[in-house]
């Protein structure tokens, strides 16, 4: 006789129930690494990059920056792999590659 028991879903003990669900500390979304949602990842060919900044402007997550050599650089912690950067790059320096498991 196997009884299937389901654990009651609990809320995290330390999470406050603020009025109106306000989150009072700024920047809390940084804790959520949305990069884990990715299926494809943008790979930038630094040699081809002309530092135009289009990918930076169009990225909906704001997670592409110029590196020290003023070449586009992706923050893979938050990149969701939407592919907009690859679409807008005028020199096709960005390729979308399957995320390796």
């Amino acid at each position: 006789m196997n009884k299937m028991t389901r654990k009651k879903p609990t809320r995290k003990e330390k999470m406050p129930i603020n009025t109106g669900a306000m989150i009072l500390e700024p920047g809390s979304s940084l804790r959520n690494k949305t990069g884990s949602w990715r299926v494809r990842r943008p790979v930038i060919e630094k040699k081809k990059c002309i530092s135009c900044g289009q990918c930076i402007k169009f990225c909906p997550e704001g997670c592409i920056k110029f590196d020290k050599g003023k070449k586009a650089d992706v923050n893979y912690d938050y990149c969701k792999g939407c592919g907009i950067c690859a679409q807008v790059c005028p020199v096709k320096a960005i390729n979308m590659e399957m995320e390796e498991k």
Binding site: T19, G20, A21, P26
Partner: protein, 382 residues
């Protein structure tokens, strides 16, 4: 000020606008819809004349009106808007958001029938259809009550952090001219202090308003919101009391008002301007020796179950007048009252009347009383 100086004859819509002006909202975002237009036009005029220092945003729809109010209120600014029927229905999703975010927005609703078919006249189906939206709903019988309730609404809303709808029957009340005892700016300033929320959107102190809430937390927020609504019952009574102490006018104890209920055997129960008509009917009945009274429901949300149980405790039967119909069931007020009184031995009859601006006459209410206790539970008065 001498008593006569602060008494003016005003259209109810204008009285509401004057009351809003005294409460000094910082942002008014509204879209016109008959019969609310008279309120927002007057407010636009006051802003244009420099008599009201508010940002008047001419939005492109009622959904935007509520969205703009939500945004503005979240930055710590008092807001106001007005709508009814199709407009209220259009902003439906935002109503739930305003209350979920616990923003004390005050909105006048000039209750009007919902399409289809198109009907621009008075009927309470619009606000009643939004009874689950988490808004406090206060219904007014007279222009004076609408004026007073608008001022009280800001105090209640800001204390409980819940939005409030001030309801007046479209045309039947919104467009009538009545003498109003006006209050002065100092009176209202002392009654409704400046809006100063603890938390608001401010680039200097960033916070998040409106995050996602997963299954592990959402239910706790809803319970918190529901409990705040229940707590409002007390706050609404307190506010009514305080208003009465300061300005010598009260509406029952704030939730339910009674008329000639002493030793009554049966009662009419109604909401809104029909209560005025009901008072005349009760007077006639009392003249004939009938022991009838009126129970006026002022606060529909939160629902004042204990007050209703207390008021009806010695009655044999009641006739609930609904200026709305929950298609497929019965009048909404009837359904909620029946639920509240489920453990009492009292016969409750429902009379649907006055939909789409159809007049609720003294004859109709007299008919309702004569049919009280009848077998047919839900009856329509034409």
């Amino acid at each position: 000020m001498k008593a006569k100086e602060n008494r003016k004859v005003l259209e109810c819509s204008q009285a509401i606008a004057e009351a809003v002006k005294l409460c000094k909202p910082g942002v008014i975002a509204a879209y016109p819809i008959t019969p609310q237009t008279r309120i927002v036009e007057r407010l636009a005029e006051l802003v244009n004349n420099g008599q009201l220092n508010a940002e008047y945003i001419n939005v492109e729809s009622e959904h935007s009106a509520m969205s703009a109010c939500i945004g503005a209120q979240a930055t710590g600014v008092r807001t106001f808007t007005a709508t009814n029927s199709q407009g209220l229905a259009l902003m439906s999703e935002m109503l739930f958001i305003a209350s979920g975010l616990r923003l004390p927005i005050v909105m006048a609703v000039t209750n009007r029938a919902l399409s289809a078919p198109i009907n621009i006249w008075g009927d309470q189906s619009d606000a009643i259809a939004q009874r689950d939206s988490g808004w406090i709903q206060l219904y007014c019988e007279s222009s004076q009550e609408a004026y007073d309730t608008t001022i009280q609404a800001y105090k209640i809303a800001e204390k409980m952090l819940l939005p409030v709808m001030v309801c007046v029957d479209g045309f039947t009340l919104s467009h009538v001219w009545e003498p109003i005892e006006m209050l002065g700016q100092k009176d209202v300033d002392s009654f409704v202090p400046n809006y100063n929320p603890k938390y608001k959107l401010d680039p200097a102190k960033p916070i998040t308003i409106g995050p996602i809430s997963m299954p592990n937390s959402y239910m706790f927020f809803k319970k918190q919101q529901h409990e705040a609504m229940l707590k409002s019952l007390g706050v609404i009574k307190e506010t009514n009391n305080l208003f009465s102490k300061k300005f010598k006018r009260k509406y029952g104890e704030g939730l339910v008002e009674t008329y000639r209920m002493e030793n009554a055997d049966y009662a009419l129960v109604a909401m809104g301007s029909a209560c005025g008509t009901a008072r005349c009917v009760i007077d006639e009945l009392r003249k004939k020796g009938k022991k009838a009274g009126l129970i006026k429901i002022k606060c529909f949300r939160p629902f004042p179950s204990s007050e209703i149980i207390k008021t009806c405790s010695k009655l044999k039967c009641i006739a609930v007048i609904d200026r709305d119909i929950s298609i497929g069931n019965a009048g909404a007020l009837f359904t909620e009252i029946k639920a509240a009184l489920c453990n009492q031995h009292i016969k409750i009859n429902n009379f649907i009347a006055g939909l789409g601006g159809r007049d609720i006459t003294q004859d109709m209410l007299t008919e309702a009383i004569s049919k009280i206790g009848q077998q047919k539970e839900v009856d329509w008065l034409f």
